[in-house]
């Protein structure tokens, strides 16, 4: 490729990068500026860095509660999902039994269900069993909605583990449960890490089920908190920007450490 074309391509890529990442940089600068400063010039670089806005947003607007709720919900749901999904995936990949493919298909096909088809009934069911407006109820629903994807990613990985490994373990006198726990899981650790990270991000951002199933302010998760925060502080752009950054930071941290894993997980479903 000749140099002129190369530079042109590079310039285009840089332009697109500014377009893709610019909005986040903009919010980041606003998060350390006061609203008065922002309204003078919305696009200026911070002159004084108001780090104190972070504790202010955190303590004055219940952010600590929302953040804690999100943490509880996501950690519990991901732990349950991983165990439940791995057990099922191991079973589908490992045992050749009648109806294996049928049962796998039953779970897998739920991947294309639009949330609308379950959400009203889930609302009724949770109300009926006293789980409406409670974190355990939300956790159970989160396990259900992410189960198909988790089983799908793990099953395709488990299926590639050579059968000899299991035969050897069986000859060594391992029980079925020990084989799962001591052979399958350790070997599949990379795939499990992928699902854990992927589910963490997706559930951290989840909004629709949360907005239907949680109304109590003390039980709100972070996305609901942000929505409320936005409603309360409509004109206070600077404070909302700080609130947004608090929600973004955990995701960015996970991304910084596990970007490859995350990209793998997100692309797993898309590349056949």
């Amino acid at each position: 490729m000749n140099t002129a074309v190369r530079w042109l391509v590079l310039a285009l890529l840089a332009l697109y990068t500014a377009f893709a990442a610019g909005p986040f940089l903009w919010v980041a600068t606003m998060s350390v500026r006061t609203t008065t400063e922002i309204s003078l010039d919305h696009y200026a670089w911070p002159t004084v860095w108001h780090w104190d806005k972070f504790p202010a947003a955190w303590f004055n607007s219940n952010y600590n509660t929302y953040f804690g709720n999100s943490l509880i919900v996501v950690l519990c749901a991901v732990a349950l999902l991983t165990v439940t999904g791995a057990m099922a995936a191991h079973c589908f990949a490992r045992y050749r039994f009648r109806a294996n493919r049928l049962l796998y298909f039953v779970i897998f096909s739920a991947i294309i269900f639009p949330p609308q088809i379950t959400i009203i009934a889930l609302f009724q069911i949770l109300v009926q069993y006293g789980l409406y407006n409670s974190l355990p109820g939300l956790i159970a629903v989160y396990v259900a909605i992410q189960l198909p994807l988790t089983v799908y990613i793990l099953e395709s990985f488990f299926a590639r583990i050579p059968g000899d490994l299991f035969d050897a373990a069986r000859i060594d006198g391992y029980s079925e449960w020990q084989i799962f726990w001591k052979v399958s899981l350790p070997v599949a650790l990379p795939a499990i890490a992928t699902t854990v990270i992927l589910n963490t991000i997706l559930l951290w951002n989840e909004f629709l089920y949360a907005v239907v199933l949680i109304t109590d302010d003390a039980k709100r998760t972070l996305p609901l908190g942000i929505q409320r925060f936005m409603g309360d502080q409509l004109e206070d752009v600077g404070m909302i920007a700080t609130g947004l950054m608090i929600a973004i930071i955990p995701v960015v941290l996970i991304y910084a450490f596990f970007s490859e894993k995350l990209i793998q997980g997100m692309t797993a479903g898309a590349v056949k």
Binding site: I107, I125, V271
Partner: protein
């Protein structure tokens, strides 16, 4: 395959079915599936034939909800908006992504950095993205209008989310911004998995940049492209969060989607009836299922024709 005629093979002997273990492994997943996926789907279906009011028995109304739905102009408006979104988005996202991926494939320096930067928007929740874009589209100081004014195109500056004519395209633009990078990373992975000789051979043939893209690269990664189109389509058929945080379906229902309409009918309007919204859900479920199966079938057919 196992189970070949001619008696018990050694392998079949080793793999006798430990039904107890199978049941135990599947039990948690199927408990969750039955209780929180299958049962709710059936219950929604059941609801759709009833009037479901709080603290009252469900009253059977037959097909009345369906008849009302057929006449419900707001619903069909929402369907049109959603389908428009679900058709426009995949094309825009995948086209942009393909051009970016091909540009990146030619070993540009700083590749890793670009990849990470472009992938960032999909990791953010629609809530965060929605609020940022409400600001970008702000009439007085948003980046969109600031840019237009800087370019001397003040005539085009407007309240992007407040104008019924442009609000939906403005939202579609946001999802395109969000998902183009994701599609690009996937396509890049597909490109890198191709044997290098094929693309080199095309370069030797000197068939030009566009020719190479159209005749060599696209056919080779077609399965991935089709998957991405379907994936994007499904994603947009579900869209709720972004609309809810930015426009709530307004102005004048110009951005109403099926999800937001269903939410309003079930939990916001003071009709308190869950039967009618369940009918919306059932009909929409049928539409989504038909569309996805239809698309998959169509893509399979075309593939078969070409080989």
């Amino acid at each position: 395959m196992t189970g070949a005629p001619g008696g018990v093979s050694v392998r079949a002997g080793i793999e006798r079915q430990p039904w107890g273990a199978i049941g135990a492994f599947l039990l948690p997943a199927f408990t969750v599936y039955v209780a929180l996926t299958a049962y709710p789907v059936l219950r929604t279906f059941y609801n759709s034939f009833h009037r479901v009011l709080p603290r009252k028995g469900d009253e059977l109304v037959g097909l009345a909800n369906y008849a009302e739905l057929a006449r419900d102009e707001l619903f069909w408006r929402a369907v049109r908006n959603t389908i428009l979104w679900a058709c426009a988005s995949p094309l825009a996202e995948v086209t942009i992504a393909l051009l970016l991926a091909v540009a990146l494939y030619s070993r540009i320096p700083g590749m890793r950095f670009f990849r990470i930067a472009w992938f960032t928007p999909v990791l953010m929740s629609y809530i965060v993205v929605g609020i940022i874009w409400v600001w970008i589209y702000n009439y007085d100081w948003g980046a969109a209008n600031a840019l237009l004014r800087a370019l001397g195109l003040e005539g085009f500056a407007r309240a992007w989310l407040g104008d019924p004519k442009v609000a939906l395209p403005a939202l579609i633009f946001i999802t395109t911004w969000m998902w183009a990078g994701f599609n690009m990373v996937v396509l890049l992975a597909a490109l890198h998995s191709l044997p290098g000789e094929v693309i080199e051979a095309a370069e030797l043939d000197n068939c030009g940049w566009a020719g190479k893209l159209w005749f060599v690269i696209i056919p080779l990664i077609k399965p991935t492209i089709l998957n991405l189109l379907v994936l994007s389509f499904i994603g947009k058929m579900k869209i709720f969060d972004l609309v809810w945080i930015t426009t709530k379906g307004g102005p004048l229902w110009s951005t109403e989607t099926v999800s937001t309409y269903l939410y309003k009918r079930a939990f916001e309007w003071t009709t308190f009836d869950l039967g009618y919204p369940s009918t919306i859900a059932t009909v929409w479920f049928a539409i989504v299922l038909t569309a996805v199966l239809g698309l998959t079938w169509l893509f399979r057919q075309r593939e078969r024709l070409e080989y």
